[in-house]
């Protein structure tokens, strides 16, 4: 079985997270999940904090926790730029739990809109990390 593949790169400020071929990639976009298959139409889209899944050539699915960013696909190449990208096994669950508690605590207090947004973003990151850490891809 020879399926068509596309190039996928997932890049975070800490370095290149993944650089290789893919059969599909599912990412969290502003209005729900979005899937790119090989030879997807040229597109630029916004990614939010959430879980990103991609299927490598051996048909295995992989999952990663990603921060917000952008994805661009053109000429069967998909480049995803995210704030952070972590494999489930690399996620520090204790840290994420502590961050979750801190964020919920802060959101309960009456704070400025700006601080509220910061806590909200921290909460989203912590929740994503915890969700992905406990997860087997499919």
């Amino acid at each position: 079985m020879n399926k068509k593949t596309g190039a996928l790169r997932i890049i975070s400020p800490d370095g290149i997270f993944y650089d290789g071929r893919m059969l599909a990639v599912i990412m969290p976009s502003l209005d729900g999940q979005l899937e790119f298959l090989p030879c997807h139409e040229e597109m630029i889209t916004v990614i939010i904090t959430g879980e990103l899944k991609y299927q490598t050539e051996d048909e295995k699915w992989h999952v990663a926790a990603v921060g917000g960013g952008v994805a661009e696909t053109a000429n069967n190449r998909c480049d995803i730029y995210v704030d952070f990208a972590e494999k489930p096994e690399d996620i520090d669950k204790n840290r994420a739990k502590a961050a979750l508690e801190r964020a919920t605590e802060q959101m309960r207090q009456k704070k400025s809109i700006e601080e509220y947004k910061i806590s909200q973003a921290a909460l989203a990151r912590a929740l994503t990390r915890l969700r992905v850490a406990d997860k087997d891809p499919f």
């Binding site: 890049i11 976009s29 630029i44 889209t45 916004v46 661009e72 730029y81 704030d83």
Partner: protein, 294 residues
């Protein structure tokens, strides 16, 4: 022999100081290496975002966004200029701080400005001169991280949105080559819209992009990390330069310490020998006079 004890004391003092300067030299060189490494890690991400920005600009030349330079010019009298000044937390780094502060002073002259100062040395400088700087902006320059660059960026992006500042210039230090550093001035906000178009021939079929959900949303997602990336690179560049300047200053200090110690040792030995000679003369003179009496 009071003199020789003094000299001995001084030698010891200088040697102790040299130990400190030498340690600072070594610390600086490790810090420099680490900062360079983290800079290399971020490069693919940063250049990727940059090319994505350029692509967006190319496809949507007439896009408007609060962060992009608009068409209307604001009269100078109504403009508040923001300056992000990157200095070190401490001195002992040659003219590193002085150069940045001098350049900032030159740029600020006769303008209404708002200062965002990173680094203790810069803050002290402006406080002494009673120049008001942005409060609650107390970030250290030690070990620049992306998180800190992002917080710094958010601070002035917010002020920019609220029109507390109308543009932002970064004054920092960059490596000219591996030995020399130079002060650089980078206009950061608002982002320039025009990108050179001429390097793409017009008959080349260009891809048509779907922008999801809207160009504005995409720009809002790209610009903050892009600007934070620029700030981060300025912080890291400056940090590398600071360490480099400190290494050079400390090496110079080490060298002159060696020189002084060398000179003092010669003087000490001379004094010691003079003392010994004197004693021998005295002893032998005494012995001779004793002989005469016998």
């Amino acid at each position: 022999m009071a003199g020789s004890a003094d000299i001995k004391n001084r030698i010891k003092g200088i040697q102790d100081t040299r130990k400190i300067t030498n340690a600072m030299y070594l610390i600086s060189s490790t810090k420099l290496r680490r900062a360079k490494k983290s800079m290399e890690d971020i490069e693919p991400y940063f250049y990727g975002l940059q090319s994505l920005m350029q692509r967006m600009m190319r496809h949507f030349p007439d896009m408007t966004h609060p962060y992009l330079r608009g068409d209307e010019e604001r009269p100078e009298s109504e403009t508040t200029h923001g300056f992000l000044v990157v200095t070190a937390d401490k001195g002992l780094a040659g003219s590193y701080n002085a150069n940045v502060l001098k350049e900032t002073g030159r740029l600020m002259k006769g303008k209404s400005s708002r200062l965002y100062v990173v680094g203790e040395a810069g803050r002290r400088f402006f406080e002494q001169r009673k120049i008001s700087i942005e409060e609650n902006f107390t970030y250290t320059v030690q070990n620049p991280t992306r998180a800190r660059a992002r917080v710094i960026t958010n601070t002035f992006l917010k002020d920019f949105e609220e029109e507390k500042i109308h543009d932002l210039t970064v004054v920092f230090t960059a490596m000219k080559n591996s030995l020399e550093t130079e002060t650089r001035v980078m206009k950061l906000m608002p982002l320039e819209k025009e990108m050179p178009l001429k390097d793409i021939p017009s008959d080349v079929p260009r891809e048509e992009f779907i922008i999801h959900p809207s160009p504005k949303e995409v720009l809002s997602a790209i610009i903050p990390p892009y600007v934070a990336g620029l700030v981060y690179s300025a912080l890291v560049e400056s940090y590398c330069c600071e360490q480099n300047s400190r290494m050079q200053a400390m090496r110079a200090a080490n060298d002159s310490a060696d020189e002084i110690v060398q000179e003092l040792k010669v003087r000490y030995n001379r004094k010691r020998q003079a003392g010994i000679t004197q004693e021998i003369t005295e002893v032998s003179a005494g012995a001779r006079s004793g002989n005469l009496h016998n």
